[in-house]
Amino acid sequence: MNGQYASLLIALPLLGAFFVPLIKGLGKKAIKTYVLIITAIQTGIAAWVFQQVYSTGKPIIVMAGGWRPPIGINLYIGHFAALFVLIVAIASFLMAVFNFKAIDVEPIDKYAMLFLLLMLGATGMIATGDIFNLFVFMEITSITAYALTAYNKTGEAAEASLKYMILGGIGSSFFLIGVALIYGATGTLNMAQIAQLAGNIDPTVAQVGLALIVFGLAVEAELFPLNAWAPDAYQAAPHPITAMFSAFVVKAGLYAMARILYLMSSVGTWHNVLKLLVVMATLTVVVAEFSALRQRNVKRMIAYSSISQVGLIALAFALGTQAGVDAGVFQMINHAIIKALLFLGVGYVAVQLGGADIENFHGLGRKMPVTAFGITVGAMAAVGIPLFNIFWSKLRIILATVEAGYTWAAFLVLAASVVEAVYYFRLIHAIWFEGEGERISESIPLVAIVVALVILVVAIGIYPNYLWSVSQKAGSDIFNVAQYIKNVPLMGVGA
């Protein structure tokens, strides 16, 4: 089949979102089912693309309108994008199932639209090969994210959304300045061509441009101290959306950051930017873990945990070594699974018991045993217990960090991990060994998802080989810029 069909990955959710108003009259359930179907198809396409890319070993380049880059905008679905588009689709699909339970506030049709657009934005950010196109997708993602954060219509939701918008707005403005500078210096917006020309441009301009782009993306990627919006947004957003934020929206920002970072690796002062990022990422981990320690609201606690894990991924990406990038990608996948599981579980508890405060988790093991089991596995995995998936990626990241010479960063990160162990420990204890409760019946589809994710977590924990090889390929897709340039059929290079 023709690789150009991969453009369906963008087209399907976009068209899907536009057709939501048509089925508005059919009722809530119909709209939710519609979203479910669209995400299922999207998953199918993504799986096909994944299979294509990994079996041929060649990236799929989609050229919009048949224009060859750098004139036309191209999508670049390489090993990383194929993998992550699949994760986006799967996570969206799972959350579409969760929608049936978790979303009751009207207007559902708007929600469905935004839901699909959020998926679209993240997919686009990951797949695009053009830096301004990236900006557009980033804005699609963030505007839908703003709207979805405010969706619950409470004061808190509006507050969180407003915070997110102000910070995101500043971030994206500076991102745009960065893009402008890069464009001014290279005369192109195509990522491959930028990479090609990066070595020749004035290092100061390149550095400033890169720093501004990284600054803008760091707001999306929740790096300290630009992440102050994140806990609020995570807490206030509807539960499926929180899971999506953590599972892929933030990852899309991280990926974009890593991609641009490595594209510009031939810039002379590149290492300064890396050092700055290492500092920021390490601080992200430390501050977020400490903030989670005495958190009474479990959803917020897991939000902080998510931020810290994201910091860990950013640290891995900022090391500037192949080992670091591979480990970062590995952690990205594992983290997506874990956080989907945790936010699903916690969200479900919050829906059933009316809130995510820690008091509701007392005796959860008796009230909702399967969900409680899922949360427990997620928590233990997040701490990095062996036989669960994060153990491997965390180990990889620490080894890569020390290998890259940032022993102090490894120290701080691990010290913060001790804190993480403590608060997850408290959660597990509250779930199983405190409080009493009557059994509440749990919804079958959600239980099935929880069990499936738990199995996935353990399966990767016991047999990480396949996923590790996938992560390595995806990692070298980001790290190996020369190959990236070669893969994009640039027309009249340098002209």
Binding site: A211, P225, L293, T407, H429
Partner: protein, 615 residues
């Protein structure tokens, strides 16, 4: 799949089956079977390992891009066999004491973890199983006590992460994770010196923390008393008998992998290797401090918990002496501590099971009610107190000899003091629990159930066998330590002394027989009123009423008053409190809810970018 894998994962799989089925009877059967498998495999390999030309059994698997190496060599066979012995005894004990599939799962999981630690031939596997073992044992404690498990967990995690960084540093410098390569590279580097002294010292310190936590070396021992007390006592047999040995094994590994490099980097001081000297003193301090604390306990679980800490101190001390004789003693003590302390904990398990009590003041006169358990505890007491012809004496004697011949008189003094303290607390245990007046509510106590007795017997037999024939152990250990101990199976000969275990045993039996005859035919019994006990001229008042069962060593506590004011426990708790307050400060200060301050953070970052020369 080769046998090493089967042996490694049989307990884990059995644990999962027991947990998932959760049917009374099957659960226990599967559990016991699961623990027997490793022992069987190890027995099968005995001839390969200990034969005339020993081979190393190796198995390599690739997981997540890491090459995990498992090998069965002389040392790992020794440690694994000890762990398996205790594991089997634990399983029998748990048949009687545990009613929870949760406990079976995690007990067996920790068993797999311990075996994995001993068999690993590379740091990834080592770390993985180390974490697994920690996690599983933590889950055991979690079930009973939130506070103690948290303490245990936090210290363990700190230890594990310290180890991880040390591994990372070694990996960064050497580029390999398997023991063979690391050992070779560090051996070479001892001469080249490309890894700086301070970095070597850092790695040493990190490993010291990691293994010290697990071995319960003072001042990292604070988790041990609580954790050992607050689990199923049959499991404690394994916890204290086998799991804490992982720490000792770690120290041994330190010598094997880094010995030459550490000597080169840290130097030699008065004919002692500095790093080794540090370990020896760590052990000596542990022996004495934990010994004193054990004496002062009123709860038998706490007593044996501190006693475990103290006894593991002997192992560190023996390793720290750093001579082949010292290693022999230390490794022998690994065995004897495992068997006698395992036995003790099973006895405690029986007591708790049958009486439901743990404090000295509630016990008394149980020897008539539980005669077999009493006999077992007598063996354990003799062995722990270091009375020949028990295994405990042979190993302590070897450590003592090693300390003397290595010219470490102060350390030898610590051994001596530790033994005296051990004697003091086991005597109290022996008397207060088994003899004297029986409280009325213990009248219908029954003998321990059969599985528990089997478990005890499994551990009691080695105490006697290796006590009478200590040469069995020293000869095996001599294979890789260069035969520092001469003699035959029944006689140990060191440069400074000779111990003929058989002769002592024969004399002891002979003496006991004579004493028995005298007792039977010549003894006059005299009735003593209950009030006539240990007053020694002190007037007895309500609040200063010392008896074997209550506040027996209170005068000692008063004498040590000054030292007991300082507690590591409180120190760590204060530290934890500070960390929590810091967390609040950070959280409320940074995430203060005002979006304008958040915008300022962005502005500040921009400013930093500008100032830092990036802009």
């Amino acid at each position: 799949m080769n046998e090493l894998m089967i042996m490694l994962f049989a307990p884990l799989v059995a644990g999962f089956i027991a947990w998932a089925l959760d049917v009374r009877g099957i659960r226990e059967a599967v559990g016991v079977l699961g623990t027997l498998v490793p022992l069987g495999v190890l027995a099968k390999y005995y001839s390969t390992i200990a034969g005339s030309n020993p081979e190393v059994v190796t198995q390599t698997i690739t997981v997540g891009g890491f090459k995990l190496i498992f090998q069965l060599n002389t040392i790992s066979w020794y440690f694994a066999t000890i762990a398996s012995l205790i594991g089997v005894a634990m399983a029998f004990g748990m048949v009687s004491t545990s009613r929870s599939s949760y406990e079976w799962l995690f007990a067996l999981m920790s068993y797999t973890g311990v075996l994995g630690v001993f068999l690993s031939g590379d740091f990834v596997g080592f770390f993985l199983f180390w974490e697994l073992m920690t996690f599983a044992s933590f889950m055991m404690v979690l079930k009973r006590s939130r506070h103690e498990s948290l303490k245990y967990f936090v210290l363990s995690v700190i230890g594990a992460y310290a180890m991880l960084i040390a591994i990372g540093i070694l990996y960064a410098k050497i580029g390999a994770l398997d023991f063979g390569t690391i050992r070779q590279a560090l051996y070479m580097d001892a001469m080249l010196g490309s890894i700086s002294k301070s970095l070597t010292a850092l790695v040493f310190l990190l490993f010291l923390t990691a293994f010290g936590v697990k071995a319960g070396a003072v001042p990292l021992h604070v988790w041990a008393p609580g954790a050992y007390s607050e689990v199923d006592q049959s499991y404690t047999a394994f916890f204290s008998g086998a799991l804490s040995k992982a720490g000792a094994y770690g120290f041994l590994l330190l010598y094997i992998l880094m010995g030459a490099k550490l000597v080169a980097a840290l130097g030699i001081w008065h004919n002692h290797m500095v790093f080794s000297y540090i370990i020896a003193w760590l052990g000596a301090i542990t022996v004495v401090v934990a010994g004193f604390l054990a004496v002062l306990q009123e709860d038998i679980r706490k007593l044996f918990a501190y006693s475990s800490v103290s006894q593991v101190g002997y192992i560190l001390l023996g390793l720290g002496i750093g001579t082949p004789l010292g290693f022999t003693g230390a490794l022998f003590h690994v065995l004897s501590h495992a068997v006698f302390k395992g036995l003790f904990w099973l006895v405690v398990a029986a007591l708790v099971l049958r009486t439901g009590k743990t404090r000295f003041e509630d016990f008394g006169g149980l020897a008539e009610k539980m005669p077999i358990t009493f006999a077992m505890s007598l063996i354990a007491v003799l062995s722990l107190a270091g009375i020949p012809p028990m295994a405990g004496f042979a190993s302590k004697w070897l450590i003592y000899e090693a300390a003397i011949s290595a010219h470490m008189p102060l350390v030898a003094g610590a051994i001596f003091l530790g033994s005296a303290l051990a004697f003091a607390y086991v005597v109290r245990f022996l008397y207060a629990v088994w003899f004297g007046q029986r409280p009325s509510d213990l009248e219908d106590v029954k003998e321990a159930p059969l599985p528990l007795l089997i478990g005890m017997a499994i551990l009691a037999i080695p105490n006697i066998v290796f006590g009478v024939a200590p040469g069995l152990v020293t000869e095996y250990l001599g294979k890789f330590l260069g035969n520092p101990v001469g003699g035959n199976y029944y006689k140990l000969v060191t440069p400074t002394g000779t111990y003929n275990a058989l002769l002592v045993a024969v004399l002891l039996v002979f003496g006991l027989a004579i004493a028995g005859l005298i007792f039977i035919y010549g003894a006059k019994t005299r009735r003593i009123p209950v009030t006539n006990t240990y007053q020694s001229g002190n007037p007895v008042t309500e609040d200063y009423n010392l008896s074997m069962r209550r506040n027996f060593y209170r005068p000692l506590a008063e004498a040590l008053d000054f030292w007991l004011k300082y507690s590591w426990d409180r120190f760590y708790e204060r530290l934890a409190g500070i960390a929590e307050d810091f967390a609040d400060f950070l959280r409320e200060g940074f995430y203060n809810g005002n979006v304008q301050s958040y915008a300022w953070y962005l502005a500040v970052v921009l400013l930093i970018l500008a100032l830092w020369g990036v802009l």
